[in-house]
């Protein structure tokens, strides 16, 4: 039995899985929400996805003694749950207007740019967004992305092609030829610029 972190400080004796959970909650939850936010596009849904994924993972998995493996499970579950669209779709839609105020001046340049990126991601379909996040944020290969999403590599390439065309049109500064090997994604002249 191990005692770990804050919970140990309160006198709880921890099993190994609880130690891994404690590490994840304290050290990695923010990053997981960031990841889920890229997929979902709004905070309540992102936090809901992470919350559910953590509970599912730690409820189901028998052996959880490696924090990195546990995080990989959670990330996989987040993506699956996001694509399953349970509960989150309506929430995301309902909250969308709260997240992006197109006409509101950004608090600072970074926040404004991030809002623009979030808005542009929101124009993509769920699968397109998932492909973009797994491929370009998680740095998975085309094959790994396909395996993770349970679709073919051809579908991944198609989703990425369409997604990148949208992003290129919506985001200033996102231009030039795609340098990823998967992108049979030949994108035509970027039009760039914000509307």
């Amino acid at each position: 039995m191990a005692r770990t972190g804050e919970a140990a400080g309160r006198g709880l004796t921890m099993n190994r899985w609880q130690g891994v959970l404690d590490t994840m909650i304290r050290e990695r939850r923010g990053a997981l929400v960031g990841y889920a936010y890229l997929l979902a596009g709004d905070r309540p849904t992102a936090e809901d996805l992470v919350h559910d994924a953590i509970i599912r993972t730690f409820t189901r998995a028998r052996r959880l003694d490696d924090p990195r493996a546990a995080e990989a499970y959670v990330r996989r579950t987040i993506a699956t749950q996001f694509l399953n669209g349970r509960r989150s779709r309506a929430v995301a839609r309902a909250k969308q207007h709260l997240l992006v105020e197109r006409d509101a001046p950004p608090a600072d340049q970074t926040a404004g740019e991030n809002a623009e990126v979030t808005r542009a991601l929101g124009l993509l379909t769920r699968r397109q967004r998932a492909c973009v996040v797994l491929r370009h944020f998680e740095d998975l290969s085309t094959e790994e992305t396909a395996e993770r999403l349970g679709i073919s590599t051809g579908s991944v390439k198609r989703y990425l092609h369409d997604a990148l065309a949208v992003l290129r049109e919506e985001l200033r500064g996102l231009d030039g030829a795609d340098d990823r090997e998967d992108a049979g994604v030949r994108v035509v002249a970027p039009r760039g610029g914000r509307r």
């Binding site: 960031g34 919350h51 990126v117």
Partner: protein
């Protein structure tokens, strides 16, 4: 462009990470442990799932937990179920405590994951694949008003993956056959949907060597393993078996044990 896009995505994710880290400095591990522990116990020992107030509220996420986990407090007062000892009874048949197949004792109340959970988006997006969940529960059919299915639980071996079992008696042999035919049709459409996504799935109506009755089996890819549904019918009696990826107990062993108990 990849680098540009990566930077943009990282900036968005980083902003969220910083916000969450600032809002949850204290961590909520205790609240999560209180939520997860009874579920693990139930899953392992077959104790019926404990009601978890305040967990998974739509849209609230773990914001609902708050730094002090207040909204989970009701769960704190929910006693963690004492795992009932799962004692093997070699004479037990399907539906009796201690029923044992392949050296694993059935855990009452436990259910196996759905196709959508195991396979992912492609199955979730397919209406046909989603319908397999109903067949796995032996729900619906021409005599829906009678013969409700009984969830016997699941065999959960060392891997932690479950093999779930349900039984149902249809009103007539014809009803059972119609049900099996419907499943064959739906499973075939599910396979077609998955193949459209480049996935290899199988569905077939078969007779098992040496066993009476016939079955429909659907095998869907789930990562490097498979999720499988078997519905076997003898006369008006049916058993549905869901085999999670990596499960220790095979559907065929369960069917054989059920048949042995049913027909002696």
């Amino acid at each position: 462009m990849s680098t540009q896009l990566k930077d943009m995505l990282t900036s968005v994710a980083e902003e969220e990470r910083a916000r969450v880290d600032a809002a949850h400095r204290d961590g909520d591990t205790d609240a999560y442990v209180r939520t997860i522990r009874p579920r693990r116990a139930a899953r392992r020992a077959g104790v019926a799932a404990v009601a978890l107030v305040g967990v998974g509220v739509a849209g609230a996420g773990y914001l609902a937990l708050g730094p002090s986990g207040t909204s989970l407090d009701p769960a704190v007062e929910t006693p963690t179920p004492t795992p009932a000892a799962l004692v093997s009874d070699p004479d037990a048949v399907a539906g009796e405590p201690g029923w044992t197949v392949a050296d694993v004792v059935i855990s009452p109340g436990v259910t196996a994951m759905t196709a959508a959970e195991a396979v992912g988006a492609a199955a979730a997006d397919s209406v046909a694949c989603g319908s397999l969940e109903s067949f796995a529960a032996l729900a619906g059919g021409t005599d829906a008003s009678v013969g409700a299915a009984k969830n016997l639980g699941a065999f959960v071996g060392e891997s932690g993956a479950a093999t779930g079992v349900r039984l149902r008696s249809f009103e007539s042999v014809e009803d059972a056959q119609t049900y099996l035919g419907d499943l064959e049709s739906i499973a075939g459409r599910c396979v077609t949907d998955l193949e459209g996504e480049g996935m290899q799935a199988r569905a077939s109506r078969i007779a098992l060597t040496g066993l009476p009755g016939e079955a429909v089996t659907a095998t869907l890819p789930a990562g490097e393993s498979v999720w499988r549904l078997d519905v076997h019918v003898i006369g008006a009696d049916a058993v549905a078996i869901v085999t999670e990826p990596g499960a220790d107990v095979a559907a065929l062993d369960v069917i054989a044990a059920w048949v042995e108990g049913a027909v002696g």
